[in-house]
Symmetry: C2
């Protein structure tokens, strides 16, 4: 049992790759489709706007009983009483985030290699976001796809739940889960689909969640 409520199907809301749906639209549809974690990722809005959106997303997640995680911005997480932050390599340092946010808040770290994952553990992260596992159209990361094997090795070495990210869709979910991933995180597989709710449902079913 994990000490914290870390979901298996993290949907990152994105309004850069698509502009048809708002963060709030995406969160609602993803939750209706079975997502159990919403991560707010926004790089270009003003801090004030980010906080406004984050507070709304937090409200939606509270209603659904799901953890709400903010990507990168510890200030926005604090202002929206987020349940957690996800901190990439170029984001806020994990040890300092832990100091500021306390022990109860979920902190996720990003890893592309075993060494990154070990650093996440040493830094005090609660889970590892590993990838990009597969080629991804989200291009969030300049890194080449890791493939399954390096993730599998990292999972065996680092005693943290691994959330696989990068190019994951309903057809390859089973592969990452068989490699020992605890769950998955998706962006374009939900946000860039014509029906984000249905797209989430396909992933949720592929993960064997819910009904």
């Amino acid at each position: 049992m994990l000490k914290k409520n870390i979901g298996k199907l993290h949907v990152l809301t994105d309004t850069v790759l698509q502009s048809h749906f708002s963060h709030l639209d995406l969160a609602r549809m993803a939750i209706d489709g079975g997502a159990d974690t919403i991560q707010f990722r926004e790089k270009s809005a003003s801090t004030r706007e980010m906080i406004e959106i984050a507070r709304k997303l937090k409200g939606v997640c509270v209603e659904a009983g799901l953890p709400f995680i903010v990507n990168d911005r510890v200030d926005v997480a604090l202002a929206s009483a987020a349940d957690g932050v996800h901190l990439g390599q170029d984001d806020f340092p994990i040890p300092l985030a832990r100091e500021l946010l306390g022990t109860d808040v979920i902190i996720g770290g990003s890893a592309v290699t075993l060494e990154d994952a070990q650093k996440c553990l040493a830094d005090g992260a609660d889970y590892v976001g590993f990838g990009p596992v597969y080629p991804t159209s989200s291009k969030l990361d300049a890194s080449s796809p890791t493939g399954i094997e390096p993730m599998e090795k990292a999972i065996k070495t680092v005693p943290l739940p691994f959330i696989a990210i990068g190019g994951i869709h309903a057809q390859n979910v089973s592969e990452v889960m068989q490699a020992g991933a605890y769950g998955i995180a998706v962006i374009s597989a939900v946000c860039c689909q014509t029906d984000p709710e249905q797209a989430t449902r396909m992933l949720s079913q592929a993960l064997g969640m819910g009904d």
Copy 2:
């Protein structure tokens, strides 16, 4: 006497309007030229980069015995142990920043109108950044120039030190100071000059500071 160390010549380091000097270059030259507050304003770098730069700037300010202020980013201010934050209308909310940062940290708010300045006071700001007073090439603000009179009226009404900003240079400093400003904040008048140190010195002399 002010309770906190609020400078009279705030130089905002900028690497958008110019790319010849780094934030650190600008801070050093501004301090050598007589600036008594450095404000770090950076919107496009990664959080990790911002923190790295902010920590260096804080070091330079500590050596010089000057307050170091971070624009907008409370997370970066926390990570760099900044002496203060400057929060514009689209930035982090002042009351929440006060709660997170404590009573000793300097918090500046932005105001274009008397009402804004009153809100800064009510929110718990330590000073008001008022402007743009004059037309500015920095285009930081979509607002039209306020001119001197509205600032003068706000200064008489709101019992906080006012730092005038927007289009201020050595030739109009006396006008804003005669209107009751406590000090000035500049961007392009220092950062976009061929000799930022000398440009700062001209302003410092116009303010009657130092030697």
